[in-house]
Symmetry: C2
Subunit: 487 residues, 2 copies
């Protein structure tokens, strides 16, 4: 009770009265382990002695934070859009200037400070459509493109549209396990039913059609499955799905009448030999009209990943295929309430969609910078896998794509019991100890979901090669020590 006699329990908004769905939300990528990492960083600053001098955050796919340099051309164009008087400056190349002029002409009053159309600036949506056409060899309509604030924004928007019903008629959405926790968090927030299907770890995290059938059949007993989400290349699992897998999923979605959501934000991040990115849209259309005229698809892309890694700009898009026109009108209405995605993010996305072409002055440098980022990532993907697989008790599938290794770890029974006593998942217990002892911040597999009785962690491959090597070696050291300690 405070001195003026008003009790805190009289608050209007408390844990008891607040939105119960929000309470159910969990988001491990920025969860308790990351909060502890921030505390430790503070303690280090204050001079507290630790067995390490810095915390290495390998928990989140934050490229620039890990030292990756921005692609020069992207930033030149955004700077020109921001301060158009720089268009008079000879230091800027002509191809950057012409792109900036084109974007500015499409902005109200010629300023990126104006609201854009809620769906996104039209010329940028045209550039997105052309990018998709070049990628897939399939026509794309700018009216089907919705620019967004990162991919997360578009994914939550689409999920929101899909959810209805109560009790046994409530919408269910199929998501892979392991999954990126945006999906589970958003489904909890919307009060939708999360339907788990398990990826096949023994088969490099591939999609297994029998498992999809098991999953949807069980789910139909207590909800109405209405959509299936696939992340390819995989997050946190790093696989690149084969064309066959993608065809299977499309056939399954058609048979089960499911809306298909394809999270393809890592589409440029393909490292393993023999692996190739196939967009769901391309495969869908190549399967012929029986599927291409039937299956409803939304695919998602972001400026935060691939070679540019511009997370802070919050750029992205979604393409919708076969969306009911009346639903599309509702979608347009819904995005209009939030006015528009950030215009700087839209501008950056435009350049990702429409990069320098052979013959333009910025092409050689752009090509070099892009190739360097992707080559380094490929090397690091290989290195992480190799070192991990030499450690007894760590099993790491090939990091075929995306930005993460997701190895399985064997934990001693005593460690599992010690975790239980603390009320923690065993891999959370493991990752917390790793953080305290080595200053390395990873995300436990339990934050993504995993088969009962298995344990994993997700580690980004983003730190610079030399640093990543140290990280992986430290994890190895820790793992051996931890295993010994609890045996």
């Amino acid at each position: 009770m405070t001195e003026n006699g008003i009790m805190h329990s009289e608050r209007a908004l408390t844990l008891d009265t607040m939105n119960p769905n929000v309470k159910r939300v969990e988001y491990a990528v920025r969860g308790p382990i990351v909060q502890r990492a921030a505390q430790i960083e503070k303690e280090l600053k204050e001079g507290v002695k630790k067995p390490f001098t810095e915390v290495i955050r390998a928990n989140i796919g934050d490229c620039h934070a890990m030292g990756q340099r921005p692609i020069t051309f992207l930033r030149q164009v955004v700077a020109l859009c921001t301060l158009p008087e720089l268009l008079e400056d000879n230091k800027f190349p002509e191809d950057a200037k012409s792109r900036a002029r084109r974007i500015l002409e499409a902005c109200g009053g010629g300023s990126i400070g104006s609201y854009s159309m809620s769906q996104g600036i039209e010329v940028i949506r045209q550039d997105v459509a052309r990018y998709i056409e070049r990628r897939d060899g399939i026509p794309s309509n700018p009216d089907n493109i919705f620019l967004s604030s990162g991919a997360s924004d578009a994914i939550t928007t689409m999920l929101k549209l899909l959810v209805s019903g109560e009790g046994a008629t409530r919408t269910g959405v199929m998501i892979s396990i392991p999954q990126y926790p945006l999906y589970s968090a958003t489904l909890a927030d919307l009060g939708a039913v999360q339907i788990n299907y398990y990826l096949d770890e023994g088969n490099c995290w591939s999609l297994d059609i029998a498992e999809l059938r098991r999953s949807v059949t069980e789910a139909r007993k207590h909800c109405v499955p209405r959509a299936i989400c696939v992340i390819n290349p995989g997050n946190p699992t790093g696989q690149v799905q084969s064309r066959q897998c993608i065809e299977d999923v499309i056939r399954f979605a058609a048979e089960e009448n499911l809306f298909l959501m394809a999270d393809e934000v890592y589409q440029d991040n393909i490292y393993a030999e023999g692996c190739k990115f196939n967009s769901f849209k391309k495969v869908l259309f190549e399967m012929g009209p029986k599927y291409s005229e039937k299956v409803e698809l939304a695919s998602f892309m972001s400026t935060s990943k691939c070679y540019m890694g511009e997370c802070g700009f919050r750029g992205g898009y979604m393409e919708v295929i076969n969306l009911d026109p009346e639903v599309k009108a509702q979608l347009i209405k819904m995005v209009s309430v939030r006015l528009c995605p950030p215009v700087t993010g839209q501008a950056l996305l435009d350049i990702v969609m429409n990069p320098p072409q052979d013959g333009e002055p910025s092409y050689p440098n752009y090509k070099k910078e892009r190739a360097a980022v992707l080559a380094a990532l490929a090397d690091k993907a290989k290195m992480a896998e190799e070192i991990f697989n030499k450690v007894p008790g760590i099993h790491c599938n090939p990091v075929q794509g995306a930005m993460y290794a997701f190895p399985r770890i064997e934990l001693p029974q005593k460690a599992i019991e010690a975790a239980k006593e603390k009320g923690q998942a065993a891999d959370m217990f493991y990752c917390m100890a790793l953080l305290e002892e080595k200053g390395i911040c990873l995300v436990p597999g339990s934050g993504f979901g995993q088969r009962e009785g298995t344990f994993h962690f997700r580690m980004t491959i983003l730190p610079p090669t030399e640093k990543l090597k140290i990280v992986v070696e430290k994890v190895k050291e820790f793992h051996l020590d931890f295993t010994k300690r609890y045996s």
Copy 2:
């Protein structure tokens, strides 16, 4: 039925199966009238003859689209953050460079391409807290500041936290009528109960405590009122609430145990003599601990309004006061799912919070640009009111603040009947005719809510003075003609 025998009615996502709450959402500011405006623009481009040569969009507070120039200093700093090699360029003033360096140092890897903390970059939240302290003379804690993607983002986040219960225990939220339709749209989306309280048009849209009591008492019969939203300066109504009004609302919120949401995005847009902006926080703390330790408050600010009008950057913040610490932890978790607000918007907000000071090289120009924008708005506010009030059948309250005139219009009975036949609100019918005949795009009062039997429209005062004069004269001409036609 398509040729391969699959019916469209088999779609997974249709108007029948989609989220019913989304269907209930309405957002007039970008609604049917704006879509028709876009069509007309297309027709004009295609050479269709119209009684006008361009559509003037006075429907939305989009400053730069109406020709307002960006504040140079803001853009310099954001350009420097975007392309740090410009820090070596002598053309940029030192005060812009030092601010850009400070922002970059606070970014992961020194890049605005990194994710920030989900709550927003810490040094920027410190600058926000200092800005609030200078404004109010009351301490502010950076831990209570949440940066956001425009104010809309923070407002919907806060509303989402507040909503729970079913049927008669469902959360109700009090909003003014007329209101900015973000509120009604978000409440519909969340399935919350919208509780209307009417502003007093006869008393310059002031808040009437008796009306607040009537409203909450009636609402308690069918829901649980948990929050009250106030927009000051008013949107769409343009009033500046007196200190007395604000005290009344605070006392009311305390007595009724309501969470107070103060939408203060127009805090610099004060034009009328004798009017002054008082933040809810300042008044709350000056009322003493009985209130300042009790009332839960969230106040909202945006980079889209005031003198800068940088809508496209999607910058903003919310300050929370007396928020239950457990709820705050939930809020932090919830914003983390969406990763972070756009960093360019955060950077721009930082400069709004920490503009050039007397003695710094950019101060004279900054001061001049800022004053010019605000002086022009004040002139236009006066002009719109004066011309409207000379028209028989138009009654316009003083535009004391914000960016809109919201005059009441008398409509002939025959026009009301003609609208009814078309299934339109009478002021929608009026605004559509104005758009078709004069090319002027306004938003009908029915899109904001108004007392039964009254009609209004909202017009921004943003077009350049000469153009605004033409707009107002054209509206006058139209009104006289319309009235005659339907008499």
